[in-house]
């Protein structure tokens, strides 16, 4: 009997001592990203005998956020997770669900080596870093080069007045056609790809929310200029609330703000139009200096470690290993076509070939250093929902002047932030 216990004890001890530490790692449910992470994880697992990465995509749900929150609530959150946008990371940080990375050994070197010192600043929450951005999709204006040429434009419009001039030209020629899609839709996240992009462009990256004073920052000159632009476009019927499906490709509009994810779609679905596209920064007020860089919105997502992880140190080692791979970002770019969140994309020889072969992607890469993520507030959804209902929609439907809409929206956003 004693022998049996001894054998059992040895077996248990051996199992424990030889068992690997498992790190649960979730990534975005996207075919390109899946292919990338599959290769990266298998490389890690083959090189590291004492740790095993249990990789899967974020479970199917209405959204990644829903799946992650359900996992957090039920105590089944992964150790490491990607596909987190900055507003969501702020919400998770606020409730203490994320592990602070800025104080960890090697964090400074990681940020420095990946050339993202400036980028990281706009991702901080309460002066600390809880998330490392993976990619940064800047938002740029797409123009139909062929239509612009027909109308006598060699270069795309730069300022609001340029757009008004183009709009007048188009509306006198054909009342069913418009110059640009000013507003992308009415969902809260559509504001990233219209109002917030215009705001960053007009205000040289100034934030639409003053997080130190807990106030909306939309009543100043920048906010007024942007709102006046939107109001003018709708008031003169130079744009429409609903422009229909694929309006840009069908020629109903000449320009629209788009992210780099549209490149592959345009190439596959509208190859003729694809060759007639020219990219430019978002339109700016008339007095904006032509030689100054134009800031834009960064649609970017990052990677976090959850506070609930039982292997936080090991998880951090894994994160460091990922970013220390020399080909990590070039491989990411090849697989996903989305610019890694680093400031040296155009100077680094690692990416030279890719950008030579993909000129539109190179155009996006130029703006990564001027691309700013949403304000680091836990009220992202509420604020942008209020922007839609109190600021954008009244101007779209002409129920309020831009000044009244600004006053109303600012008051409501201030109440949310207070």
């Amino acid at each position: 009997m004693k022998n049996k216990f001894l054998v059992l004890f040895i077996i248990i001890l051996t199992t424990i001592s030889f068992s690997k530490t498992k790190i649960v790692f979730w990534t975005a449910p996207n075919p390109n990203q899946e292919a990338f992470w599959k290769e990266m994880v298998s490389r890690y697992n083959s090189q590291n005998g004492d740790m095993e990465i249990e990789w899967s995509t974020i479970p199917a749900a209405g959204s990644s956020e829903e799946a992650i929150l359900t996992a957090v609530a039920s105590g089944r959150a992964p150790d490491v997770c990607t596909n987190i946008f900055s507003g969501f990371s702020a919400q998770l940080s606020e409730i203490g669900a994320l592990y602070e990375m800025s104080s960890l050994p090697g964090f400074g070197d990681l940020v420095k080596n990946r050339k993202m010192e400036n980028i990281m600043k706009s991702w901080e929450y309460d002066g600390k870093s809880y998330i490392i951005p993976l990619y940064s999709n800047s938002v740029l204006m797409w123009w139909r080069k062929d239509i612009l040429k027909e109308l006598g434009w060699d270069n795309p419009p730069r300022t609001y007045s340029d757009i008004y001039k183009l709009s007048e030209q188009i509306s006198t020629k054909d009342s069913d056609k418009f110059s640009i899609r000013v507003i992308q839709g009415r969902n809260w996240n559509d504001r990233w790809f219209d109002y917030i992009t215009y705001f960053y462009a007009a205000g040289q990256g100034e934030s639409y929310v003053d997080l130190d004073r807990y106030r909306a920052n939309i009543s100043g000159t920048t906010g007024k200029e942007v709102a006046k632009f939107i109001e003018t476009m709708f008031k003169n019927k130079w744009t429409a609330v609903d422009l229909g499906d694929a309006a840009f490709y069908k020629g109903y509009i000449v320009g629209s703000l788009k992210g780099p994810w549209e490149i592959a779609y345009a190439k596959n679905q509208f190859p003729d139009v694809y060759n007639n596209i020219v990219l430019s920064p978002a339109p700016v007020p008339d007095n904006y200096p032509a030689d100054k860089p134009v800031y834009t919105f960064a649609d970017s997502k990052g990677l976090v470690i959850f506070e609930t992880s039982k292997h936080k140190k090991e998880a951090w080692e894994f994160v460091k290993w990922i970013f220390n791979q020399k080909d990590f970002d070039s491989m990411w770019l090849e697989y996903t076509q989305m610019p890694p969140a680093r400031e040296d994309l155009l100077e680094n020889p690692l990416f030279e070939n890719f950008f030579k072969e993909n000129p539109y992607a190179a155009e996006y890469a130029k703006f990564v250093k001027y691309a700013i993520p949403p304000a680091q507030t836990t009220k992202t959804v509420d604020i942008q929902d209020e922007m839609t209902v109190s600021l954008i929609e009244p101007m779209m439907y002409g129920t309020k002047t831009s000044d009244d809409a600004i006053k109303d929206a600012a008051k409501k956003i201030n109440k949310l932030l207070w």
């Binding site: 609330v241 422009l243 959804v381 509420d382």
Partner: protein, 294 residues
């Protein structure tokens, strides 16, 4: 005597064993969430850590939340269009089915197809069909020189959602009325004819009263459905324009999973459930009649 009671006890045990499957299922998937819902409604909790009791704060906040009441009014507005349209539509469908000589099964199934279609898929289809330069507006423009702002005008947007939901449910509700029509004995109509009743009188004084159970059933279904509307406005209008298609379900979803306030969302769900039960109770009180042919 003894063997009889043993048999009875054995039967009772078997019965309990069979029904326990459902009881266990209900406790896990209904009872537990139900209790949790009430706990949350009186707490402050954001997915992480333990809920903290905060009394009736969530309820006070809810009673002063204009967005919630706007979503409630939207549902009332929705029902104002939806219930008459779906009732008349399904009645016409059932009466048409009754008169069909051939292909009843095919027609019934064809209409039911809408009911079993994926909400996401047909929402995308309708959003393309009803868009500003979509096929429907192009046709209207060619024929009458007008374009309808299906999803861009607040009232039209809600009405467009109603049209889509009516399309989805008219076949299902129509079949309920059809079975109600089939249960009315022919003799009643024959007797009415002999008494000189016109077609309208037959419909008004025989068909409609005898269809009361089916109509009440459809009304109850319609009210429950209206309070549960989510996919169509979420996919097509996002609750706009000007929050005219925002429904309580959408608000609960965004509050719980985007604004990270599941406790407040739970409070909303309790109030919405109470209000929908209240409206159902009132409707039954007003419409339901004791129908019997004997």
């Amino acid at each position: 005597m003894n063997s009889k009671s043993t048999l009875k006890r054995r039967d009772a045990r078997k019965g309990a064993a069979f029904s326990s499957i459902y009881v266990i299922y209900s406790v896990i998937f209904w009872g537990y969430p139900f209790v949790w819902l009430f706990v949350l409604a009186f707490s402050k909790w954001k997915y992480f850590g333990s809920p903290k009791f905060n009394g009736i704060y969530n309820f006070l906040k809810l009673f002063n939340d204009p967005v919630f009441w706007k979503s409630f009014l939207n549902i009332m507005n929705f029902m104002l269009y939806f219930i008459p349209l779906v009732l008349v539509g399904s009645l016409l469908f059932a009466m048409g089915m009754k008169r069909l000589k051939y292909g009843k099964t095919f027609v019934g199934l064809a209409f039911l197809l809408a009911n079993i279609s994926s909400g996401v898929a047909y929402s995308i289809m309708f959003s393309k069909m009803f868009s500003e330069n979509g096929p429907l507006n192009q046709m209207l423009d060619k024929l009458f020189g007008v374009r309808i702002p299906w999803f861009t005008n607040p009232q039209w947007a809600l009405f467009s959602i109603v049209i889509i939901v009516v399309w989805k449910f008219v076949g299902y509700y129509g079949l309920i009325i059809y079975s109600g029509l089939n249960s009315i004995p022919k003799e009643v109509y024959e007797a009415a004819k002999i008494d000189g009743a016109t077609r309208w009188e037959q419909f008004r004084f025989i068909t409609l009263p005898l269809l009361n159970p089916s109509i009440v059933m459809i009304l109850v279904f319609s009210i429950t459905l209206s309070f549960g509307i989510f996919t169509e406005p979420y996919m097509i209008t996002g609750g706009g324009p000007l929050r005219s298609t925002l429904t309580p379900m959408m608000l609960m979803y965004t509050t719980a999973f985007q604004k990270m306030d599941p406790a407040y969302s739970a409070t909303m769900s309790i109030l919405v459930a109470l209000m929908s039960f209240g409206i159902i109770w009132l409707t039954r009180k007003i419409v339901e009649r004791d129908v019997s042919l004997t």
